[in-house]
């Protein structure tokens, strides 16, 4: 599978409120892309727009260079933010039904349902009603519903919300596996550390506009340099506060996390630290995703 999802100038207004404001970015196949932004940034609206679930005032959604229509959407998988399954329908029958709505034969839908329920560790619940399942298992079934027809593009709105670490690992593994198999995977999340573990690339939006997009590695190594400095006996890193071009981003248990301006020479920082006491740690660090996020939105 090869695919490329392109969003071009998506605009959506609700009366006076502008949810999407000329948003453009693309999602290539083969990697897990995290979709980030503060609450109300327009993430859900963007995802819904891909499936035609929200009317756009302007802009286009393209898949492999062509406008997305009904036939393309059948080959996409969607996990909405507020989970969507028939509460009183049996898990197995529900997944088969959704598979068939995505143009699978009855036989293929049944086989895929069985395989996915086994893969996600809920095979024994195929005969249960969805409403009888725990939150974590409902989430697994919801993921299976997005995957059952073997989609080329997978869009998941907060798939990790409210899961325990086992659940996060299980779903995270599936997402990475799908991306490796050539699927295009875009998912939104608030938990930045989880996104950092799972994603090769992120797209951050705010107020319906693109803020930053790129590979996590590139984003982490770009921008201002970061230093972690530990001085024995020093708890509050007061020595670093007065160096021009250096900002203390945080102090955690004696380790000061410093952000260096371009004009600052790291040697001068080292000298200042040595002046304050014995230096026990002096490390250049990558930017954390949370920092990328905060700085991008600042």
């Amino acid at each position: 599978m090869e695919g490329l999802l392109e969003l071009e100038g998506l605009t959506r207004r609700y009366g006076a409120l502008t949810a999407l404001d000329g948003l453009s970015f693309s999602v290539p196949a083969g990697q897990v892309v995290g979709f980030l932004g503060p609450n109300g940034a327009g993430k859900t609206t963007t995802m819904r727009a891909v499936f035609g679930l929200t009317d756009l005032d302007a802009g286009r959604v393209k898949w492999n260079g062509a406008a997305v229509g009904q036939a393309e959407r059948r080959r996409f998988g969607y996990m909405p933010e507020e989970r969507g399954l028939y509460p009183a329908m049996l898990v197995g029958e529900q997944l088969e039904y959704l598979g068939r709505l995505h143009a699978m034969s009855a036989h293929d839908a049944a086989a895929a349902t069985k395989a996915w329920l086994e893969r996600l560790g809920v095979a024994d619940r195929a005969g249960s009603k969805v409403e009888a399942l725990s939150h974590g298992n409902q989430q697994r079934v919801q993921l299976a519903a997005a995957l059952v027809h073997g989609p080329e593009l997978l869009i998941l709105d907060e798939p990790l919300a409210g899961l325990d670490p086992t659940g996060i690992d299980a779903i995270g593994d599936v997402l990475v596996e799908q991306a490796r198999a050539g699927c295009c995977v875009l998912f939104s999340s608030h938990q930045l550390d989880q996104v950092e573990d799972l994603c090769e690339a992120v797209t951050i939006i705010d107020h319906g506009r693109l803020v930053v997009t790129g590979k996590v590695d590139d984003l982490a190594t770009s921008g201002a340099r970061r230093l972690v400095v530990r001085v024995a006996g020093d708890r509050d890193a007061s020595w670093a506060c007065n160096i021009a071009g250096v900002t203390v981003s945080e102090v955690d248990g004696g380790a000061a996390r410093l952000v260096l301006d371009e004009r600052v020479d790291s040697d001068s920082v080292l000298r200042a630290a040595m002046g304050a006491g014995r230096v026990t740690e002096f490390v250049f660090e990558r930017r954390r995703l949370s920092e990328v996020f905060r700085e991008a939105l600042a």
């Binding site: 035609g52 969507g84 028939y86 709505l101």
Partner: protein, 433 residues
């Protein structure tokens, strides 16, 4: 009693399955790229098949069907038990009772459809005792005095009362003939007098059997329209509130989901109605009920026709309403105004069926799609419509149904994905929507 229900339902489900499999097979041979009409039908069929499966599986459906069958069985069997099989009336005779009087009594009984047994009594006291104990229903003393246990009011229509009134009249006549001193020939002529035929300016009104059939049909239409439209209302609302609609609409168009839903529930409704009618016909035949004689079968057929037309009209309205709500309390505020035309049509039709003479206003109701499903079958039962009037009303209903379906799909498409508070109609058609 579950047997026939399950059979009919199985037949519908199997037919749907076979049809869908054929569709799928033919689809597979075609190119899959465009979402052509074949795929469209396939989706609608899938949605409809799911509705049928889930609904028929539900307890509500099974218990409901059983209840309707019980009511119908009651409506057919109870009148049979009450009528026709009335016991012979026993008439005690005291003193002289010449043959002409005896013949007059038997003739009176025959004229009201009753058989009599004459019981000789020793004297008036014995007759009184037997009257009190209920061993006899009427005593005739010396051919000139009639005695019953309890006084008979003018409104009483019991078998005994009919017999007593008839005997009283005929014995009175016999006495008059005797005292007038008429010859035997003249007396016989008088006795053989026939009532003059009466012509009427208006056609006769339905009575008895047809009226009951009309009423039972009305109740059936009312129950089914209410029940299945509520299913649609709640079903659409639940799809919206559970957000499953987002997953579904990511793969198909709103109108496909809507059409599949109303088709599926409609199939269940029609299968149930057909089962009830088949059951009614079979049972009526078996117990020899006269409920299905005369114009009654016509009433039944038109009831079925109007059940389909009524469902087709209302289902869209209810689906659109369901798409505007996502909570039970929001649904209630919509369901009440929607049910008013149904209740109005039902009550007006019950009144008209009871009175036997439809007003002009009622005839107008028979041409309005919301009330026609109730009014038209009643007019058919009363013999107050021609076939072309029936067809005209059906045509009006079909045209309005098409319009309603379009309007409802438009409302549904705009409202089904809006969450939060209840969607107002004016929001749907304003420019910012």
């Amino acid at each position: 009693m579950n047997g026939p229900i399950i059979l009919v339902i199985l037949a519908v489900v199997v037919a749907l399955r076979v049809w869908l499999r054929r569709r799928r097979r033919s689809n597979r041979n075609q190119s899959r790229a465009p979402a052509g009409s074949a795929l469209l039908k396939g989706d609608v069929g899938l949605v409809a098949a799911r509705e049928v499966r889930e609904r028929v599986r539900g307890k509500v459906f099974r218990v409901g069907t059983l209840l309707i069958l019980l009511v119908v069985a009651g409506a057919i069997v109870v009148p049979v038990l009450n009528s026709g099989k009335s016991r012979p009336q026993r008439v005690g005779v005291v003193g002289a009772f010449p043959a002409p009087l005896r013949e007059a009594v038997v003739a009176s009984a025959t004229s009201v459809g009753i058989t009599v047994h004459l019981v000789p009594e020793a004297d008036a006291d014995a007759a009184h005792r037997d009257l009190r104990s209920g061993r006899i229903d009427l005593a005739i003393v010396d051919g000139r005095e009639l005695i019953v246990d309890k006084a008979i009011g003018s409104a009483v229509t019991s078998t005994t009362a009919q017999l007593v009134l008839s005997v009283s009249k005929n014995l009175g006549l016999a006495e008059a003939v005797e005292s007038a001193g008429l010859s035997a020939t003249q007396a016989a002529e008088l006795a053989g007098a026939k009532a003059l035929p009466v012509k009427s300016l208006q056609p006769g009104t339905a009575k008895g059997a047809t009226q009951t059939t009309s009423t039972v049909g009305l109740i059936l239409v009312f129950i089914m329209l209410t029940q299945y439209n509520t299913w649609i209302l709640i079903g659409v609302m639940e799809e919206k509130s559970s957000r499953v609609v987002e997953v579904l609409l990511a793969a198909m168009r709103p109108v496909q989901l809507l059409a599949g839903k109303v088709l599926g529930i409609g199939l269940v409704a029609f299968a149930q109605a057909a089962l009830v009618v088949a059951f009614a016909l079979g049972l009526a035949e078996a117990v020899g009920s006269d409920l299905l004689r005369g114009t009654a079968p016509l009433v039944l057929v038109s009831t079925l026709v109007w059940l389909v037309l009524g469902y087709a009209f209302y289902c869209w309205v209810y689906a659109a309403a369901g798409s505007m709500a996502e909570r039970q309390d929001q649904v209630q505020s919509l369901a009440v105004p929607l049910s008013l035309p149904i209740i109005f049509g039902y009550v007006m039709a019950l009144i008209a069926a009871g009175s036997g003479s439809p007003s002009t206003f009622f005839k107008v109701l028979a041409y309005l799609p919301p009330t026609a499903p109730f009014a038209m079958p009643v007019l058919v039962g009363l013999g107050a419509v021609t076939w072309w009037e029936f067809a005209a009303s059906a045509a009006v209903s079909i045209v309005c149904t098409v319009g309603m379906a379009r309007l409802a799909s438009s409302v549904y498409r705009r409202a089904i994905l809006r969450t939060g508070r209840r969607v107002q109609l004016r929001e749907l058609f304003s420019r910012t929507a």
